[in-house]
């Protein structure tokens, strides 16, 4: 036997032994940079102190009024559509359709309202800088609820249950000014939506274990999910935009999703959204903002309108993302896997980026797509049954 053969005879059993003793699902390790990036996605939920632009924010009576309004169909022109028709609690506050369906079909996918209190822009185009203004939009949109300010005020004034809740929430009867009633209705709706926050997830358990150096708990996180997480914060650079505890930076990006909504009709996203924001009487620079200091209006005062905003849409948060299909602003990705595959095969020529270098096809292997999906699945909390409040105002119901 030659020396090489003798070495091989000894080495092969050792290698076989090593291979057999290593678990098939061994966790890949995180380096220091990856660890820091992972920790930045928590803790969950982050502290929240209310919305200074909304005097109804965090007021239990306003929350109760908002909840009544949210599930009531009387705020629609035909009396059949409520906010909850599109934001269904059992569907993680979405509707499962590619595009929202109210009085007719809208142009965009229905985003979840879960965790909306952490946003600083609202809607796929960020046309609103506060949650109460965003809540007015579907009420007045002819394709969604089709109301007018006088019609909303009339419903509130003439429905004893609503006018009672209004008095309890705002300390006065609905005023004669129709627009003031509309804005207060929206502020109560916002106060309710602020209470919808997703629960802690398997990812949070992993992240918190990492933070306290609990190796045993860290090891319980599935290996495919950890490989996906490493991609998410590493080569794929997902966490650059899907940043922070809510997995969104709250801003906008062009990721090459089509923006034609019909023959000759374009959805320009953020570009038109900034124009609408500036024109809105309900923006935070206007008279309806309850924050006298106007500190809440900093973003509105300084936001710029650029050519590159054309085709940009809001970066959605990813908590409970596995429960909110279909995806993208137009619902064009039916599954989570389709959404991940989009980034793998993205066409840079479709991106209005003015030379921006961030969006490039990731060219992921099938196994890497599986891993990213496995990671995204760990961002879902166990199903929570939403139970409507019985009432905090028995005199009103």
């Amino acid at each position: 036997m030659t020396p090489v053969a003798r070495v091989a005879v000894r080495l092969v059993p050792m290698l076989l032994l090593a291979a057999l003793s290593a678990p098939a699902h061994a966790q890949p390790a995180l380096d220091a940079t990856e660890r820091a990036k992972v920790l930045a996605h928590g803790p969950w939920p982050p502290p929240w102190t209310g919305d200074a632009s909304n005097r109804a924010s965090m007021k239990p009576r306003a929350v109760a009024f908002g909840e009544r309004l949210f599930f009531d169909t009387r705020l629609s022109k035909n009396g059949l559509v409520s906010c909850a028709a599109c934001h269904q609690p059992k569907k993680t506050w979405t509707d499962g359709h590619a595009k929202g369906i109210g009085l007719s079909v809208a142009d965009r996918n229905t985003p979840t309202i879960a965790n909306v209190r952490y946003a600083h822009w609202f809607g796929w185009d960020g046309a609103h800088d506060n949650l109460w203004a965003q809540s007015i939009r579907p009420i007045l949109d002819p394709r969604e609820m089709g109301m007018t300010p006088p019609a909303v005020a009339k419903v509130v004034r003439e429905t004893p249950m609503f006018s009672c809740h209004y008095r309890k929430a705002f300390g006065r009867a609905p005023p004669p000014d129709d627009e003031a009633v509309l804005v207060d209705v929206a502020k109560a709706l916002a106060a309710f939506q602020e209470t919808v926050v997703t629960a802690r997830t398997p990812f949070d358990d992993f992240r918190n274990a990492l933070a306290r150096n609990d190796a045993a708990a860290v090891a319980r996180y599935p290996a495919p999910a950890l490989r996906g997480l490493k991609l998410f914060v590493g080569r794929a650079q997902c966490s650059v935009c899907h940043a922070g505890p809510a997995f969104t930076n709250g801003e906008f990006g062009d990721i090459g999703v089509g923006f034609f909504v019909a023959q000759g009709k374009v959805d320009s996203g953020r570009h038109e959204g900034i124009r609408k924001l500036r024109d809105s009487p309900y923006n935070l620079l206007g008279r309806w903002n309850d924050d006298a200091s106007r500190k809440t209006a900093t973003g509105t005062r300084h936001v710029t309108l650029e050519h590159r905003n054309f085709g940009e849409f809001k970066v959605p948060g990813l908590r409970n993302v596995a429960e909110t299909a279909p995806y993208m602003h137009n619902g064009s990705a039916k599954t989570l896997r389709d959404a991940v595959r989009h980034y793998s095969e993205i066409d840079p020529d479709r991106v209005h980026a003015d030379g921006e270098q961030l969006i490039r096809p990731l060219k992921l292997a099938d196994g890497e797509i599986d891993d990213l999906v496995a990671f995204l699945n760990t961002l879902s909390a166990p199903p929570q049954d939403f139970r409507r409040q019985q009432t905090v105002e028995p005199d009103c119901d």
Partner: protein, 164 residues
């Protein structure tokens, strides 16, 4: 300013008195004087006010040919997707005209994009400015650009900033 004023009085007091003697003695005295001078100069430099010291702790600085720019973020540290302001002090180097106005911007050079917001700048006197309305919407490598204008033109001071 970064350039510390020379402190001749303090150096003279600290230097050993001259003593008659040999060539070696004279060389030793010179070496002793030089050795004493180095830490004292360093001390004088450390004690001298630097541009932007009045801003307190957490001050960062950058400079160009004619200007030193010192700034402090408010609130500090900067957080992804949260608005911040900058308190800025501009110091003209020797021979340069004082800063009359300032523009502030920031970009991510690797991504080739800037901020989604345009800050407003208010002069608060004595080369001090406050920039309001900045927001870094991504973690990573940013670069501030301070355009300082004096009566002899505009000069850009660039300064990197790594946002975790």
């Amino acid at each position: 300013m970064n350039t510390a004023p020379f402190a001749p009085d303090r150096v003279r007091r600290a230097t050993a008195p001259p003593r008659a003697g040999t060539q070696a003695g004279r060389m030793a005295r010179r070496a002793l004087a030089a050795a004493a001078l180095v830490p004292l100069l360093a001390q004088a430099s450390a004690d001298a006010p630097r541009c932007g010291d009045a801003l307190g702790t957490g001050v960062a600085r950058g400079e160009s040919k004619r200007y030193v720019v010192a700034w402090r973020a408010d609130p500090s540290p900067i957080v992804v997707s949260r608005h911040f302001a900058l308190d800025v002090v501009v110091c003209a180097k020797a021979g340069a005209a004082p800063a009359m106005s300032l523009r502030v911007d920031a970009t991510m050079p690797a991504h080739r994009h800037g901020m989604n917001y345009r800050p407003t700048i208010a002069a608060t006197g004595d080369g001090r400015f406050r920039a309001e309305g900045l927001l870094f919407h991504m973690p990573g490598a940013w670069e501030f650009a301070f355009d300082v204008t004096g009566n002899d033109g505009t000069e850009r001071v660039r300064a990197p900033y790594e946002l975790q």
